[in-house]
């Protein structure tokens, strides 16, 4: 058999080639239904092909899904870190927003007194005792500050500088019982003196004393600094009247004032320089 092949190798190859060529010529280019032989062959082979392909794709799927899971865990971690970062940033930004609000309020206050030059400063320390309401700000004589300069915050008057160092100044607020400010009612022009009081300091209020009994001050009136003071310029808002009482002597009244400035939570304040007004 093998010998037969060996002997007629060339002829067989030629015959086979011719046969295949003829077959190709006849079958090529025509859409025919599979022949019986092809069908049989297909019947046997295709399930295996199916199976093999199935296994292949299953392996591929498994591998890729494992890969995916690892990827997803990584992604989740990344996202969580991102969320943390964004939260922190959000908090930082809302702090900035608060600060921005305070500062723009201060700027608006400063623009209300264009005749005076003003400097912003931060509160850095408060009186360690319970008696007085003084604090220290972070600017001093090196920034051109002097004692008796007026301190205002977003809402209104805060107090005055009592002493300046090179890089710090002491400020006495209007709640301090040693402080007194000549003031008047904006509506009626009645005069009085706004003083701090030890019993009201804790609640952030102060007194307006020496008001004439005939004065027509009412609850809700706006109190501003008067023209009589040498330290405080005329017309800086101080606060609102919340209560009115007659003194024991019956000759004068006193009012309880709620300051506009939030004196319990001061962070940034404005120092007004009165001397610049005279130059202009």
């Amino acid at each position: 058999m093998l010998q037969f092949f060996e002997e007629h190798k060339k002829k067989i190859v030629i015959a086979l080639a011719v046969l295949l060529a003829v077959l190709a010529l006849f079958t090529g280019g025509r859409k025919l239904n599979a022949t019986f032989a092809e069908d049989v062959l297909g019947f046997v082979v295709t399930p295996f092909q199916d199976l093999t392909t199935g296994i292949g794709s299953w392996v591929e799927d498994t591998i890729s899904s494992a890969q995916n899971q690892a990827d997803q865990a990584e992604t989740i971690r990344n996202l969580e870190a991102e969320i943390e970062r964004l939260k922190a940033e959000n908090q930082r930004l809302s702090l900035y927003e608060e600060e921005n609000k305070t500062l723009s309020e201060l700027l608006r206050t400063a623009q209300r007194y264009p005749q005076y030059s003003s400097t912003g400063a931060a509160v850095i320390a408060k009186d360690p005792g319970n008696w007085y309401d003084t604090f220290v700000i972070d600017k001093g004589s090196s920034d051109g500050l002097e004692s008796n300069m007026v301190i205002i915050a977003s809402g209104g008057l805060v107090g005055k500088i009592t002493e300046t160092g090179h890089g710090y100044s002491k400020v006495m607020s209007i709640l301090d019982s040693r402080s007194s400010v000549s003031a008047k009612s904006l509506r009626t022009g009645d005069l009085g003196v706004v003083k701090g009081d030890i019993t009201l300091m804790d609640s952030g209020l102060c007194l307006m004393e020496y008001i004439d009994t005939e004065a027509e001050i009412l609850v809700g009136d706006e109190i501003v600094t008067s023209h009589l003071s040498e330290i405080y310029p005329d017309g800086i808002p101080i606060g609102k009247v919340t209560d009115l009482q007659t003194d024991i002597n019956g000759l004068t009244k006193y009012a309880i004032i709620e300051p506009y400035a939030d004196l319990k939570h001061l962070e940034t304040i404005l120092v007004m320089d009165k001397s610049t007004a005279e130059e202009n």
């Binding site: 320390a125 408060k126 009592t162």
Partner: protein
């Protein structure tokens, strides 16, 4: 070493009292950490140490918050001196004694401030002072004495141990 350390303690205590400790106020009342510091040191080291610490604490407060120099310094020196006189009469490991001394010292300290700074200037709200300011401050200070005294006690113990080795002959 000891001097350096105590200067540091006094400074840190002053800085904390004027900044961070402002947040632990209860209805406007702050504990008097300066008195705690002076009394504790005086009880641990005697009158001389108490006077020096009292002087430093008082001067700091005078410089940054006082009207002139000397008022708080004098108060601090007196507090340190009188607290230091009981140095020899008690066991420093005892906790009750420093608490009582601190409360009494705070009461006297604040009363002097009230009388000189308010009563003599015509602010006669004595009841308000006693009920709303003095009493809560004494209680608050006494409570805060416990951790602070413990801390200073430990620091002092450590310093004394170091000094003992330094002066040992052999």
């Amino acid at each position: 070493m000891r001097q350096l350390f105590m200067a540091l303690v006094v400074l840190v205590s002053f800085i904390l009292q004027t900044t961070l400790l402002q947040y632990i106020e209860i209805r406007g009342i702050l504990p008097n950490t300066a008195v705690i510091l002076i009394v504790s040191y005086a009880l641990l080291r005697g009158s001389t140490g108490g006077v020096i610490v009292g002087l430093c604490c008082g001067l700091l407060q005078d410089i940054f918050f006082g009207n002139g120099i000397g008022y708080y310094a004098l108060l601090g020196v007196l507090t340190g001196y009188f607290a230091g006189r009981s140095h020899k009469n008690f066991y420093r490991e005892n906790y009750i004694f420093p608490i009582i001394i601190c409360a009494v010292a705070t009461a006297l300290y604040e009363t002097v401030i009230f009388v000189t700074g308010f009563l003599l200037q015509g602010h006669t709200q004595i009841l308000y002072f006693l009920v709303r300011m003095l009493l809560p401050e004494c209680v608050y200070t006494a409570i805060l004495t416990v951790p602070l005294y413990r801390l200073l006690f430990a620091v002092n113990e450590w310093l004394e141990l170091k000094e003992k080795y330094k002066y040992r002959l052999f």
